[in-house]
């Protein structure tokens, strides 16, 4: 007995791996072994009898931790190097409270419980929707989805279902990643026409928009700030042109900008989408993404949202709030494939990142959101100014107001962005995104990102490094 205890290496994750318990359970079932059980469930010819080529188990928590820490040590994090990368996920400060709540075991390990036993989950996600609704000044926000790109795809398909039209107009300055996502998401239902941008300001070419808009167009889509960092200031005109033809306006937005910049609903957006990562979620190597979709409280809009919407109601007890799914019958959970046009699908996505975004907005409040926006605006102005003083560097490439990103044009330096970025690593700096591949018309240009995490010293360090690299 003592020997057995000494030898017992039952896996800590599998309580019933002890033979004595297994025997008792097998007796209850009425079979002699687990193998016999499998024989009754799965035809023998379909069972795999080979050996898998898997590494030997690291059979203690200590060894596991040691192994993984060693592999991870090969990464250089943005805490170690100075990061100027953005373009879809951005280095923002994550408040400690956001981490604390994201780590709460009850939230972290919950899933799909009912409003009664998972009340906290329902309330947190309802609050997320409600806080985002204030930021966006829109009445309806769904539980979050995978990412901005996916949310944009959904917004366009929603617009198509609402209008019964099959064409969408999209400005050609959107993120190349999102472009690929949207293209696959709307195929084969919608036709995309790409609207050119003005090569000087970067803004949407309104003449081209006017030529392309028609009563076949379900929606016009643009982003604010744009992928290339400038603010699209023509929102009202775009909306007017679109609405005149009965088309909807869909705007993708970076919510961190909305403490100071008008929300798209104020310049005519009918559906708004965007990315939640800036609101208290870590970049996680691109894994911190979560998309949102928002619209008006009109049944014909709400019924086309494919995702869950948690609503509030009263319970039988005075003063007690309960929650539930608003119009659950519209989701694929209820209707599967739908007889008519596809109403997309819903499933496990990014609820926890949504809860965290709610925590972030609750912490920041109106003053925090204004301060963070203003601070970014000022740092960007400073950065563009000091970088533009370097010989051969043109910044910003586009003549328009910018928010937290801007294009740095290196064409006159005679150097390639790839080479510059490689050299920046020697200074402990992660340089901006190389645009030469995906925006070839910009030549050797890079997209730089500045947020509230960057100090004057950081920006000066970048300037000094670039000056040295470009000069040599």
């Amino acid at each position: 007995m003592v020997e057995n205890i000494v030898k017992n290496r039952a896996h800590p994750y599998i309580p019933n791996s002890h033979p004595r318990v297994q025997k008792e359970m097998l007796q209850e079932i009425g079979v002699s072994s687990i193998d016999e059980l499998f024989e009754r469930i799965i035809p023998r010819k379909l069972q795999y009898k080979g050996k898998m080529n898997l590494p030997e188990p690291l059979d203690s928590e200590y060894l596991l931790k040691r192994h993984i820490s060693k592999v991870l040590s090969k990464n250089v994090s943005c805490e170690e190097y100075l990061c100027f990368l953005g373009g879809g996920t951005w280095p923002h400060y994550v408040p400690a409270i956001c981490d604390e709540i994201a780590s709460r075991g009850e939230f972290l390990t919950a899933y799909a419980g009912e409003p009664y036993e998972d009340h906290g989950r329902w309330q947190s996600l309802f609050e997320y929707e409600s806080l985002m609704a204030e930021l966006l000044d829109m009445d309806v926000v769904s539980v979050p989805i995978y990412s901005w790109g996916h949310a944009a795809g959904t917004s366009l398909r929603m617009a198509s279902r609402i209008t019964g039209r099959k064409e969408v107009l999209i400005v050609d300055t959107i993120s190349p990643e999102r472009r690929k996502i949207i293209e696959n998401y709307v195929e084969p239902h919608l036709k995309i026409r790409w609207i050119k941008h003005n090569s000087i300001s970067g803004l949407m070419d309104l003449d081209e928009l006017k030529k392309s808009i028609s009563s076949d167009v379900a929606a016009v889509y643009f982003e604010n700030p744009s992928y290339l960092g400038f603010i699209e200031t023509q929102g009202e005109e775009i909306a007017e042109i679109a609405h005149e033809k009965g088309s909807l306006v869909v705007v993708g937005v970076d919510p961190i900008s909305l403490g100071i910049i008008e929300p798209p609903s104020h310049y005519g957006a009918d559906i708004v989408c965007g990315e939640l990562q800036p609101l208290g979620n870590h970049m996680n190597f691109g894994g911190g993404l979560a998309g949102f979709v928002a619209t008006r409280d009109e049944p014909e809009f709400v019924r086309e949202i494919p995702y869950r919407i948690f609503g509030i109601a009263n319970t039988v007890t005075e003063g007690e709030y309960g929650f539930g799914d608003v119009a659950f019958g519209r989701t694929s959970f209820m209707v599967r494939e739908t007889p008519g046009e596809s109403k997309e699908f819903v499933g496990t996505a990014t609820a926890l990142w949504g809860i965290v975004a709610g925590v972030y907005l609750a912490l920041m409040g109106p003053h925090g959101m204004r301060e963070v926006g203003e601070g970014i605006l000022k740092r960007v102005k400073y950065a563009m100014k000091v970088l533009s003083e370097i010989d051969g560097i043109v910044v910003p490439r586009f003549k328009a107001p910018h928010f937290k990103e801007f294009v740095v044009d290196f064409n006159s330096t005679g150097r390639k962005v790839k080479e510059i970025n490689r050299k920046l690593l020697d200074y402990g700096i992660l340089g901006g995104i190389d645009l030469s591949l995906r925006f070839s018309e910009l030549g050797e240009s890079a997209l730089y990102c500045i947020t509230e995490i960057h100090t004057k010293e950081d920006i000066d360090r970048l300037r000094d490094a670039l000056e040295n690299i470009v000069r040599r």
């Binding site: 359970m25 799965i42 409270i97 806080l131 691109g286 009263n314 007890t317 608003v326 100014k385």
Partner: protein, 526 residues
């Protein structure tokens, strides 16, 4: 054995917590934002003036103003009112695979070497991350027999959408215009059908044979034609009856040039036991947040890792991670000729990849098989005892009583004999600290409920859950009112008026709408 105790005196945490907006006190701050330095201030001046006036936000967003400790307390309380795996014997959310989520993996995933990585950093600065992604791919290849995995999809439904996209693109590239139908089964997950429809396919649902519960094989054979683009199915389906005809089904679809996609959301009983490739599938996905132990996060972030056979590798979303063995260098490969493009920005939820990798490394081949063996043992143990001891229960499709790692039961008899519905039981079981879930729609099995014990729970845990079911069943026959009015010891009581969720005049998807439509009834007026 330990002591099996039904928690008759259980009461869930109940803080009577207001909505965050009700906590607002103007002037309070939750966090301060770093100020810009004087030099920047001087140079930038009032940068807001650079914004065209019409783009400047006029009125600040009506966000609450709450001090830090109050925000913390609010969300801590809400977390306590949530029944995660960490605090309950979470076997009642069948199909969800609510297994133990090892804490060491969470600690590793919180390393700044994970959280503070930007996806577009130079590859040489993220070799550790790429190595883990690449090696998890290798491990999943071993488990499935597929040739390559990608980690972009953020959940099972997203993975299904990815597979439907691959089927679509494959036929487009091969000029198979006539192929416009996808076959699935009525007992496969709703997203199998919904995502196929999203990609423009006509969807055909094979109903279950009423006797065996298996997809009607004759109906299936009649359905397959030159128009069949592919088949997307679960096996086992949510009833967890393993389909002995699955190999024949994939062969029949292949004969007409269709592709076969495997919804492996229910893989927890099959690790090292059955390989997807041996069943004839061309592609499939694993839910890393279910089978591979990453926590579910209240509904994500999850990850549906999609694997394909060699001939379909070029259709995967870009990029994939490759390894140059000579230089021992991991890199991103965007060069896939027929790629469907992307389904999400960047490469997937890396913390989830890391946790799945850690979980497999902690188990090895023997451990993974033990996971499935115990999951199946636990499930069939529960079947025996529930049917024997919980009055009013039946198993779905009793002619095929042996199930893999979960089981769909029915309370139809209970309803007929006592008037108590499964929805009533769902509410009542919360009074003992448990979840119970019904079924996906449509409800093929009347008054359904689904239990999935996984490998993570001890015999005592299972016995405690059975005891709760026994007690509720007894109540149904002796004192049904206590169930009808449940819950009693949960966070809240029964919702008063369910039309709040259906009637556009009443529904309140956000607080601002609630105030507008129902202000007089709210607690808003202090």
């Amino acid at each position: 054995m330990g002591v099996v105790k039904l928690r008759k005196n259980f009461h869930q945490a109940k803080w009577d917590e207001p909505i965050i907006f009700e906590l607002s006190t103007p002037g309070e701050r939750g966090i301060l934002v770093p100020r810009v330095e004087r030099e920047i201030e001087k140079l930038a001046g009032n940068a807001l003036l650079d914004l065209p006036p019409h783009m400047k936000r006029k009125a600040p967003p009506s966000l609450p103003e709450v001090a830090q400790v109050r925000v913390l307390r609010h969300y801590m309380r809400l977390s306590q009112q949530t029944l995660g795996v960490d605090v309950n014997i979470d076997i009642g959310q069948g199909t969800c695979t609510m297994k133990y989520n090892p804490k060491i993996n969470d600690i590793l995933a919180k390393s700044p070497k994970v959280t503070e990585l930007h996806p577009l950093q130079p590859e040489e600065t993220v070799q550790g991350a790429l190595e883990i992604i690449y090696n998890l791919d290798l491990m999943l290849r071993e488990l499935s027999g597929f040739s390559r995995f990608v980690f972009q999809p953020g959940g099972g439904s997203h993975a299904l959408y990815t597979m439907a996209s691959i089927i679509y693109k494959y036929h487009q590239v091969n000029g198979n215009q006539e192929k416009d139908e996808i076959i699935t089964t009525l007992l496969s997950h709703p997203s199998d059908a919904a995502t196929a429809k999203l990609k423009g396919f006509k969807v055909i649902d094979i109903p279950p044979d009423p006797e065996t519960g298996l997809p009607d094989f004759e109906a299936f054979k009649e359905t397959v034609s030159e128009r069949t683009a592919g088949m997307i199915i679960c096996n086992p389906e949510d009833t967890e009856i393993f389909n002995p005809h699955v190999r024949e089904m994939t062969e029949i679809v292949h004969e007409v040039g269709g592709l076969c996609a495997y919804d492996q959301a229910n893989a927890n009983g099959l690790l090292g036991i059955v390989r997807s490739i041996d069943l004839g599938f061309d592609m499939g996905f694993y839910n890393l947040h279910k089978t591979f132990s990453s926590p579910h996060g209240c509904g994500g972030p999850g990850l549906g890792a999609v694997g394909v056979v060699k001939s379909l590798e070029s259709f995967l979303p870009v990029p994939v991670v490759d390894h140059d063995a000579e230089k021992d260098f991991y890199y991103l490969n965007y060069n896939l000729r027929n790629s469907i493009g992307k389904v999400r920005e960047f490469y997937g939820v890396f913390p989830v990849v890391l946790r799945a990798y850690a979980w497999i490394r902690s188990l090895g081949e023997g451990g993974l098989k033990e996971v499935s063996r115990v999951a199946v043992l636990n499930n069939n143990y529960m079947v025996k005892r529930i049917l024997k001891e919980v009055r009013g229960t039946e198993i779905s499709f009793p002619k095929t009583p042996w199930r893999v790692s979960q089981t769909r039961y029915s309370f139809q008899k209970l309803r007929e004999e006592t008037g108590i519905t499964v929805e009533d039981v769902v509410r009542r079981i919360t009074d003992f600290g448990f979840h119970l879930w019904t079924s996906h729609h449509p409800w093929i099995v009347p008054e359904p409920f689904t239990i999935e014990p996984t490998e993570s729970y001890s015999k005592d845990d299972l016995d405690e859950y059975i005891e709760a079911l026994r007690t509720i069943s007894r109540e149904a026959y002796e004192n049904p009112e206590v169930i009808k009015n449940a819950p009693h010891r949960s966070v809240i009581h029964k919702i008063e008026d369910m039309s709040f969720f259906e009637d556009p005049e009443k529904w309140a998807p956000t607080w601002r709408v609630y105030l507008r439509k129902h202000k007089s009834k709210g607690r808003y007026e202090k």
